[in-house]
Amino acid sequence: MTAVPIHRRRLLAPLARIAGGDKLVTAALAVLAVLIVAAAFAPWIAPYDPDSVDLSATLSGSTPEHLLGADQSGRDVLSRLIFGARTGLLGPLVVVIVSTLLGMLIGVAAAWHGGVVDSVLSRAMELIFSFPALLLAIILVAVFGVGLTAPVIAMSVAYAPYVGRLARGVALQEKARPYIQAYKVQGWSGWVICVKHLLPNIAPLILAQSAINFGYALMDLAALSFLGFGVQPPTADWGAMINEGSSSLLQGAMLPALAPGVAIVITVVAFSLVGESIADRVARREQ
């Protein structure tokens, strides 16, 4: 009996160390680890092909064969959930990488140069802020057609100002610190100071924001798929699964819509927890 918890603790130990002993953050990290593994090894882990149909199991509810039941077309919900983690994580990952790079570039450039450059970039960020992200996505869908591309581009643009505003704020603070001024006095160019010294020092805070953004981007992309603008059925995708599953709700089958919904909520919360934890740690180190 005791072997299991010890074994489990051993597995969690490195995560707990990263989390600084915080139980909630350890759990969040564990959730993310499971998700990544599921996405990477979906064909080996999933009990069925996500598209294979077992009509006898249609809207079956939880059974030993189908742990999370099957949907209205008789496809295994658990398998679709596992495969759904792929688009579910890939889309936000691209969004976060692009928006973080873009935001850091804009934010740090605005902070470093100040004056006109700052005004122009700050106004540009406000402009994007004031434009609803979902609307931007729908417009881009009109251009690129439905699928993952248009929503991902739209979200990348829409999320950049969140990173940009934060990056500008912390870069302004950091720029005023004497160690950055000492680099200037040593004769380094602004470019080298920013890339080699300022960015690495503000990166942890930006990373925290990006982790939180990951969750939100996942939610937004799922919403677009749910609305039919994003990933298209029959591809397994959490947002699209909720859309397809919602019609079965009336027939009393909760699992096809509920399972991907819960997956989204858990993932978003996990990313938020990790992000907050990074931010807290930076704050503690600062003081």
Binding site: Y179, A182, K184, V185, Q186, G187, H197, P200, N201
Partner: protein, 287 residues
């Protein structure tokens, strides 16, 4: 007569409507030591920042080792040349070192930028510089947060000396340190000046310190030169009421803070009615 290490004429700097520095002139001979004394708002820090190129003067001229350095450093060559002429040590040793960079790397960085050295030569020079400020191998591997305030200030001095400057600006460089440590750093600075012939500009609010570290003194009041001359003469027989006020403000036995408070109000009233007149020519430092 030999050329000055530093020669400043009619320096002026405004921020909006606020005149931070107004008509400040000074000279510093090679290997000399000049104290710029004043309180917050006196313009002493702005003056120091203009000298190292962190601010650009609105008008006036700065010559370092005979070369004009009034304008912005355009281009790499000017930037580097300037960095090899003049360096700065900042007030707060807790903020003036890059938190991510070890002591050794901190001293090696300017060497890498300024001198073509093999890595062995660079390491040897680094150890020499660290030994010069009384730091050994143990400190070399440490990150700044593991060091005490005094040790950090030693690192900042070693870093500033790395480019072999002719002039070193010490911006309240000992103000944040404990008294028992401050004296150690002052000893070290005196020794370095004796050995290397570098010239110092001490920016400070403490006139008692001036007596022990500077040959000449420049007292700034509200952005203008109130009084200047050999430190010994100015401290023994101050001519400007503000210099007298500063002297009396130092706590000592038989101190009468109430009288100082009255003098301060009188001075403020007098200068509101009539801006401070420049003092007699006999004590200009340019003699």
């Amino acid at each position: 007569m030999t050329e000055y290490a530093l020669e400043v004429e009619n320096l002026r700097k405004t921020f909006g409507d606020h005149v931070a520095v107004d008509d400040v002139s000074l000279t510093l001979r090679p290997g000399g030591s000049l104290a710029i004394v004043g309180e917050s708002g006196s313009g002493k820090t702005t003056t120091a920042r203009m000298l190292v190129g962190l601010e650009r003067p609105d008008s006036g001229r700065i010559r370092v080792a005979g070369r004009d350095r009034s304008g912005a450093a355009r281009g790499r060559a000017t930037r580097l040349a300037r960095a090899r002429e003049i360096q700065m040590v900042f007030q707060d040793p807790y903020l003036s070192l890059d938190p991510r960079v070890t002591v050794a790397a901190c001293v090696e960085e300017p060497l890498r930028l300024h001198f073509a050295m093999t890595s062995a030569e660079r390491r040897a020079r680094r150890d020499e510089l660290l030994a010069r400020v009384g730091l050994g191998e143990r400190e070399a591997d440490a990150l700044p947060r593991r060091l005490s305030g005094g040790q950090r200030q030693r690192v900042a001095i070693a870093r500033a000396l790395a480019t072999e400057p002719k002039v070193l600006i010490l911006d309240e460089a000992t103000a944040a340190l404990d008294v028992s440590i401050q004296a150690q750093i002052l000893d070290l600075l005196a020794e370095i000046r004796r050995d290397t012939g570098v010239a110092y500009v001490f920016v400070t609010h403490n006139l008692a310190l001036v007596r022990h570290v500077a040959d000449d003194v420049l007292v700034l009041y509200r952005g203008r030169v109130a009084e200047s001359g050999p430190a010994r003469d100015v401290l023994a027989a101050p001519e400007h009421p503000y210099t007298r006020l500063l002297l009396h403000s130092l706590p000592h036995r038989g101190w009468d803070p109430a009288r100082i408070a009255a003098d301060r109000r009188a001075l403020a009233t007098a200068t509101r009615e009539r801006p401070p007149a420049p003092t007699s020519e006999k004590r200009s430092v340019t003699s």
